[in-house]
């Protein structure tokens, strides 16, 4: 489907509220991470927010890792 319109994409396909709330930033084992709530009692890590390059080699924070609600402290 191709739409020829001067309107912005967001005016035609607005973002649903749930999309905003699905992603959240939490603190996990002392690091800030971005997670997606996959609504089965787990979060999936999307992005690690850190400046320490060695954190990115830590497999606990690798993207896609599942963590349960209990393990994480919301901020």
């Amino acid at each position: 489907m191709i739409l020829y319109t001067p309107l912005s994409e967001l005016d035609i396909f607005p973002i649903s509220e749930t999309d905003y709330t699905k992603l959240r930033s939490i603190s996990y084992k002392g690091k800030n991470i971005y997670v997606e709530n996959i609504s089965d009692g787990n979060y999936k890590i999307i992005q690690l927010i850190s400046t320490d390059p060695s954190d990115f080699l830590n497999e606990n924070y690798s993207p896609g890792t599942l963590i349960s609600y209990q393990d994480s402290n919301d901020i």
Partner: protein, 242 residues
């Protein structure tokens, strides 16, 4: 008897967890083990996607939120184990005030900072790139310099225009103070006609950015690491003399 059964169950559960961990790692990374590194004295700050400021962007945008970066910069300044900072830039620009805030924070760090422009350092990415003590650009990266605007539409209200004009002046001043580019030259690039289709401004590629004095040198990770180590050593010897 019961105890041993419970023990066995626990063992089984642990084994299951281990295997699911392993499967997971293979699914996500395509390998079972990830390299481990010792503590590093150089930290990396990546500014990717859009610079997000006062307005929250829809979740499908890749953004760098300044409220995440500012505390990290303070933490870097405070931590004595961190001796240098490398800033990786691949940004399309974004919120002018947020970008300027980041640039000012980076410029006022006491620790050596080196920036690398990868892919793109457009718009408000320019002041962030020049804010570092030394800046690199990879040969294929580009930087778009254009006037400050809201949406690209014509501004109808004179007050809005004046406000944006002042904001633009702040950006120009910052870039001129922190890089080798002359004010006239930078303005010329900003208001050039015919470079961007139906818009004013200039898109400059790697070596051109160096030629204009905007960026210090063409180079990549190796150069940046060498430079930051060199700056760290210089800082150390200065401290010894003092």
């Amino acid at each position: 008897m019961e105890k041993s059964q419970v023990g066995k169950k626990q063992q089984n559960n642990e084994q299951k967890e281990q295997t699911s961990d392993l499967v997971h790692k293979i699914q996500q990374l395509g390998q079972t083990s990830v390299a481990e590194a010792p503590d590093t004295n150089i930290h990396v700050l990546s500014i990717i996607g859009q610079v997000e400021g006062h307005i929250q962007l829809p979740p499908q945008n890749k953004t760098t939120k300044y409220e995440h970066i500012l505390p990290q910069l303070i933490a870097i300044e405070q931590n004595p184990k961190i001796e240098g900072l490398i800033i990786l830039l691949n940004t399309v620009g974004g919120d002018v005030e947020a970008g300027l805030a980041l640039a000012e924070m980076i410029a006022s760090l006491s620790k050596p900072t080196v920036s690398i422009v990868l892919g793109g350092g457009h718009s408000i990415g320019v002041p962030i790139a020049v804010a570092a003590d030394y800046s690199y650009i990879v040969p294929t990266a580009t930087m778009t310099i254009h006037p400050v605007r809201l949406t690209g539409l014509v501004i109808g209200v004179p007050q809005t225009f004046e406000y944006l004009d002042k904001m633009q002046e702040r950006v120009i001043q910052f870039v001129v103070e922190h890089s080798g580019v002359k004010e006239d030259q930078f303005k010329e690039l900003m208001f050039a006609k015919g470079n961007l289709t139906r818009d004013i401004g200039t898109n400059i590629v790697g070596t051109e950015a160096v030629k204009h004095g905007l960026i210090d040198e063409v180079g990549g990770v190796k150069n940046a690491m060498e430079k930051v180590n060199q700056l760290i050593n210089m800082r150390k010897t200065q401290e010894v003399i003092q």
